[in-house]
Amino acid sequence: MTMSCELLHVLHRAGADTPYDMTSYEGARARWCPGCGDHGVLTAVQRLLAVEQLVPEQTVFVSGIGCSSRFPHYLKTYGFHGIHGRALPVSTGIKLHRPELNVFTVMGDGDCTSIGAAHWIHALRYNLDLTVLLLDNAIYGLTKKQTSPTTPQGVVTNTQPRGSYLPALNPLTVSLGVTNSSFVAQTAEWVPAHLFATLRAAYRHKGTSFVRILQRCPVYTPEMYQAVVRDPARVALLVHDDGVVVPELDRTFTTQIHHDPRDLAAARNLAESDDLIRLGVFFRDPDRPRYEETRRVTPRTATERMVRLEEEFDRYAV
């Protein structure tokens, strides 16, 4: 999807046909640290909601616990700020019972890839129509600088003061390894145009769209992406008509890889290599079965149920 029409939407104003603008989705004032990557994600999400004109009361943001999980409080939609690691089961319950709602899930790296890892894997397999954002700053922020699964090896933290012991977990390869996973993308908070375009592609995908958003923590890991931010040559964009194309970024990011998101083997190779940071849609298959469709049941009225309950009693009658 190209950027041209979306540029217009940046200047979007509420009107008769488009009752919502970005301010329509503003909740409480965000209390993240100045310079936190979460702010940029929040703005991109509000822009997405406005561009897609999502009805606020038909939209639910579900989060777990952590800095990024304060997200729903800063939006004027329905929100569910639950417990650590368990956002995805809650989202699953909401979507199963109310498939007409737009359900977004916002998790941090500890939330998603550590304490909630089981739910992450199984949510990808259920493939409900959920937009899932992993706000990955590679550190525990709220609890003050502990190693997370995505913390690079060697990074000094309060729990691993001689440098983090293990190689970082790669959320992309994990996601791409899960059977029935249908959308896996990576973007970065410091490239807002790409962030927005990726979120939009994710939202428009029918199925669980998993977006890892690389982001900076200015307090605990300010150095983490500094070199990449300064040097766009360290970034490669994955481009494809079925993925994300942002022409305005062509001059900044000259390394571009034409990658068909249907090609799972290529996606896994791209996700595996760590020479460059790759942004774009790694994999997308809109034809994978979605759990809410597989499990769709015909609603029954109370009266119908009463009749069928009598039939049930007949089966057990003496």
Binding site: G79, I83, V90, T92, H122, F313
Partner: protein, 635 residues
């Protein structure tokens, strides 16, 4: 084999006259085999037919923990225990009077457990005596020596040899042969047995049905030719329409009657069969069983669904309850209605997965860190397992509360008939209201006096708010101030008192005053009341009280207790014996209800509990009551 009903009739006319039946008020029968030999199927059909014919029936499963334990080992005993009576049967009774066993090792297991009455009749497969394996022959001889010495009446049955006349693999057919024997002894209606076989094997082929019927006829014929006794437990077919099922099926049906639309669960014994039942039928009612990736996800999905609309259900057992703890706190803190069923088993840890215990009460009530007031209901009968679901859903919705329903393996696997419920459309959950929310309407508009507040669900225009497990004010805004947390804690707690204020005081079983009041909860009601009847018939002034609500406790308990000289809680959980080493009045760990009652009433509630991994026997309770009163009289 051509044992059609007609040929059977001819055969009857040829053989010796039928021996006269011994007439009894009740009889308890067991069918035991190795796992996989179908003894349970035999027992279930026998029980269902007995219920249909007008006997009171209570069935308990005998289940090994493994799916397929090695054959011919005592711990592999699998089967059913059926108590039939001339009136309602409310519990599994004391000891077994007649056993059909497919090998001597499983029989030995029952004997050594003390499950068999001293004068019990044992019908035993005799093929092992002539086994080519000398080890088996030796084991047989050793077991038979022990069983004979115990004084049982032993009847040897050539099950294998007889079944071979009908089928090639009798291991899968002895159960129906045994059913035929029981049908003759207890004069069961063969036509009803055929109906039940058709139901039990509805997913199997026609050939399975035909063979099964032939085997039943064969067993019936064998019994008529070789047995010299029959037993009559008078039947009292009533006018009332009855249904017969186990407690887990009743829970599942109750969930349907209550209008639940989502049951999220993770497999765990002995709760899982609720979801087996629901998985089979729920979709016909517009409902969904979601098998989650783990216990935590199961409750998370249920909470998500409840938050988004109708109250959802999650079903588990002790270890699963432990895993769900954090989410329970979230549901309570956010006042998201939820119904959780805990089908209790023996604990702690993995404990006794298939066996009954009532040890989750305090964990259910106090297991959530922080102050987490919620409702706990314990159905006392299989019938109540049905109705409790309607009550639980209504309370959850009305009070924005977590409601836990505590049943146990005794109710879960026990089968008994009860009056067919008359469904009421008002039991069903109302459709969710998506009307716009007024500008002044808050997500927590607590009524200052009751703590109650209406709920706002996603989809309601103008109602957007973020639910949070953090301390929050009426607008659901995060609020850490001391005053707000004090106030909102009071609001969440107040609801429980309000619920208590609308409950009726529990009814005393027996006179309202006396020497001893026995208090129980859950599945022990039938056994306790039978024990009370027995000791009262002996002249002891004992009554009992059975509680359905454990949180809040039903009103008036202290006043009821005050009219008895002694009060004792009887439960299936652990308590220290008062005269055990090191045990003092101060350090004695009492049963869980006893602890609860003592704290709520300041009554000196004594405790008598057992954790045998099986339901309490009325005889054992009666003995404890006599002993307690003996002690009580001395003081």
């Amino acid at each position: 084999m051509t044992a059609s009903p007609a040929s059977l009739k001819d055969n009857h006319s040829l053989r010796a006259p039928t021996p006269p039946s011994i007439k009894l008020h009740e009889h308890t029968i067991e069918i035991v085999s190795d796992s996989g030999e179908g003894a349970q199927k035999c027992g279930q059909i026998f029980a269902a037919v007995s219920a249909r014919m007008g006997n009171g029936v209570w069935t308990v499963e005998i289940i090994p923990a493994e799916v397929q334990p090695p054959p011919r080992v005592p711990e592999g005993a699998s089967g059913n225990r059926i108590r039939i009576g001339d009136g309602p049967v409310t519990n599994w009774g004391d000891q077994t009077n007649l056993v059909v066993a497919f090998n001597e090792q499983v029989l030995l297991a029952r004997h050594r457990l003390g499950a068999l009455a001293p004068d019990a009749t044992l019908l035993i497969e005799e093929m092992w005596e002539t086994s080519p394996d000398p080890a088996i022959v030796a084991a047989w001889q050793e077991a038979m020596t022990e069983l004979t010495a115990a004084g049982y009446r032993i009847v040897r049955v050539p099950m294998q040899a007889e079944c071979l006349t009908v089928m090639e693999n009798p291991r899968k057919g002895k159960n129906m042969f045994a059913l035929g024997i029981l049908a003759w002894i207890y004069d069961r209606d063969l036509e009803r047995i055929r109906e039940q076989i058709a139901i039990a094997f509805r997913k199997k082929s026609e050939a399975v049905y035909t063979t099964s019927v032939a085997l039943v006829d064969l067993g019936y014929q064998w019994a008529s030719e070789h047995l010299d006794f029959r037993i009559e437990v008078p039947r009292a077919p009533g006018d009332a329409a009855l249904v017969v099922m186990n407690g887990n099926e009743a829970l599942g049906m109750g969930a349907i009657a209550a209008g639940f639309e989502l049951c999220a669960m993770y497999p765990i014994t002995p709760a899982t069969s609720v979801s087996h039942y629901l998985s089979e039928v729920f979709e016909r009612f517009g409902g969904l069983v979601h098998q989650a990736e783990d216990e935590i996800a199961a409750i998370g999905v249920a909470i998500g669904a409840s938050y988004a609309g109708k109250v959802a259900l999650t079903i588990t057992s002790g270890p699963g309850l432990a895993l769900k703890t954090e989410f329970l706190g979230l549901a309570i803190m956010t006042e998201t209605p939820l119904v959780l069923v805990d089908v209790q088993r023996g604990g702690p840890s993995t404990g006794l997965p298939t066996k009954v215990e009532q040890s989750d009460l305090l964990a259910a009530l106090f297991g959530q860190p922080g102050d987490a007031p919620h409702v706990i209901i314990a159905p006392a009968t299989i019938e109540e397992c049905f109705h409790v679901m309607v009550t639980a859903r209504r309370i959850a919705e009305t009070f924005r509360a977590v409601v836990m329903v505590l049943t146990d393996a005794n109710l879960a696997t026990g089968v008994t008939p009860f009056p067919r419920p008359t469904p009421d459309i008002r039991w069903q959950a109302a459709p969710i209201d998506l009307a716009p929310v007024g500008a002044d309407d808050l997500p927590y508009a607590w009524d200052e006096s009751t703590g109650l507040s209406p709920r706002i669900v996603p989809g309601q225009p103008g109602g957007m708010f973020t639910l949070t497990g953090l301390s929050h004010d009426g607008r659901s805004k995060v609020a850490y101030s001391a005053g707000i947390h004090q106030h909102t804690s009071a609001m969440r707690s107040r609801k429980i008192a309000v619920l208590q204020s609308v409950l009726s005081p529990p009814q005393v079983y027996g006179p309202a005053e006396g020497d001893l009041l026995v208090i129980g909860w859950g599945s022990t009601k039938g056994a306790i009341e039978e024990a009370v009847d027995r000791v009262r018939a002996e002249g002891l002034a004992v009554s009992s009280l059975h509680l359905r609500f454990l949180s809040p406790l039903e009103p008036g308990i202290k006043a009821i207790c005050s009219r008895f000289r002694n009060v004792m809680a009887v439960e299936i959980n652990y308590s220290d014996e008062p005269d055990a080493p090191f045990i003092t009045e101060e350090n004695r760990r009492r049963g869980q209800l006893a602890l609860l009652l003592r704290s709520a009433t300041l009554v000196d509630v004594d405790s008598w509990t057992r954790v045998p991994g099986e339901p309490l026997r009325p005889g054992a309770i009666a003995a404890a009551l006599r002993e307690r009163l003996g002690r009580g009289a001395a003081t």
